[in-house]
């Protein structure tokens, strides 16, 4: 925990942490979209195509 340790302004570090933040948001949204798109297909693939056969 950082307590009241006040960091000095460093643009390079701010960009670095901002990049991680942005990546996290993009991954959350991106994987969420992929889950909706490919989820049903993957489930069918994992569980075998029994229902299709019927």
């Amino acid at each position: 925990m950082a307590g009241l340790a006040v960091p000095t302004w460093d643009p390079e570090t701010a960009v670095l942490i901002g990049t991680i933040l942005l990546e996290a948001i993009v991954l959350y949204v991106g994987y969420g979209g992929l889950e909706r798109l490919l989820g049903p297909y993957l489930m069918k693939l994992l569980l075998g195509g029994e229902s299709d056969a019927r």
Partner: protein
């Protein structure tokens, strides 16, 4: 071509082999985090140390990974309406002041030569108290009284406020009163006092504070468990972000490590989280405990290898840490797929 892009880009500066290793390890860590609701960073930092990264880079990158993971988990809880930002902001303010007060107290006690003894006693009282309270609640109820991430999926209206929190809410009615998620109405002074006290303990004991904050929010403020989980993650976004920034200023955050780890863990967390709906976590918790023990032994072997200058022992330590995590993650995925197939087979048989 790919190598030159990755190396020459100057952004990641990590070889394709290492990128693949980090994505894979992130995937495994993500499955464990998604399934158990914990268990990520403590595998990452030792693994990085065994890969011979300097300690500040291992700790700083581990912290940045926790920050990224907390952002993703907070977004998920936000979508489920389980983050109380009002509570979060008051908690962050009170906690930060409390941490500084705790740190000052430690230095004062150190000057008197009393710090070690008092801190040890505080640890015993605190851990014993929290443990007894959670256990008693679990025994009194239907066994769901513990603070586990499965509770995060409960409906807020189903949540029952603990007696102690009800008493505090009814007794302390000093304005301004704040209405929190789950229709909990409590004095802002209670939240500030709880935040200050947890921050004080956190600064005094030198711990992150999640294991104190969560029960404090549930038992002292009366926040529903899912909201306590979500709001705690929101706080970790701030503490992890600030910690990462401080490490980053000293060159301790390596994007070539954090980015691929997050890439893998974000996917793994979705798989692990989905698996909780299918598999009973209690059955696999024993493996989780075993994995932690193997991890501890592996770190020890790695340290001995490093001390003796034996690359074989260092490699053995690394293989054990990663291997144990991989085995548990595979056990989760295998059990989930087997359970799903079994359920489906039974469903089709019944239909026939």
């Amino acid at each position: 071509m790919l190598g030159s892009v990755l190396e020459g880009g100057g952004v990641l500066g990590t070889s394709p082999e290492m990128l693949a290793l980090f994505v894979g390890f992130g995937l495994v860590v993500g499955v464990l985090f998604g399934f158990f609701g914990m268990g990520g960073s403590f595998l990452v930092t030792p693994a990085l140390l065994m890969l011979e990264y300097p300690a500040p880079v291992a700790v700083g990158s581990g912290m940045a990974f926790v920050f990224g993971t907390a952002v993703i988990a907070t977004l998920k809880h936000h979508d489920l309406g389980q983050v109380d930002y009002k509570l979060g902001v008051i908690m962050i303010t009170g906690t930060t002041i409390g941490i500084e007060a705790g740190r000052t107290t430690v230095y004062y006690l150190e000057s008197l030569g009393l710090a070690g003894g008092i801190i040890s006693v505080a640890y015993v009282v605190l851990l014993g108290g929290v443990g007894a309270m959670v256990t008693r609640d679990a025994l009194d109820g239907d066994g769901d009284g513990g603070v586990d991430h499965e509770a995060a999926d409960q409906d807020l209206s189903e949540y029952e406020i603990p007696e102690i929190a009800k008493t505090i809410q009814e007794t302390v009615r000093i304005p301004p009163m704040v209405t929190l998620r789950g229709d909990v109405r409590v004095s802002a002074w209670v939240i500030t006092a709880v935040a200050f006290a947890t921050g004080l303990l956190s600064g005094f004991l030198g711990v992150g504070g999640g294991f104190i904050r969560m029960p404090a929010m549930i038992y002292a403020i009366g926040v529903p468990v899912p909201v306590a989980v979500g709001t705690d993650l929101f706080e970790i976004v701030f503490s992890g972000g600030l910690g990462s920034y401080l490490y980053g200023q000293g060159g301790g955050v390596d994007l070539g490590i954090v980015a691929p780890l997050l890439f893998g863990s974000a996917l793994g967390a979705r798989i692990g989280s989905a698996a909780t709906a299918v598999v009973d976590a209690d059955g696999i918790k024993i493996y989780f405990g075993g994995m932690l023990l193997i991890g501890a032994i592996a770190v020890g072997i790695g340290e001995v290898g490093s001390y003796l200058g034996s690359p074989t022992l260092e490699l053995l330590g690394l293989v054990l840490v990663i291997g144990a995590a991989v085995v548990v993650a595979l056990a989760i995925v295998y059990t989930t797929v087997s359970s799903l197939r079994e359920t489906r087979r039974q469903g089709t048989t019944a239909a026939d």
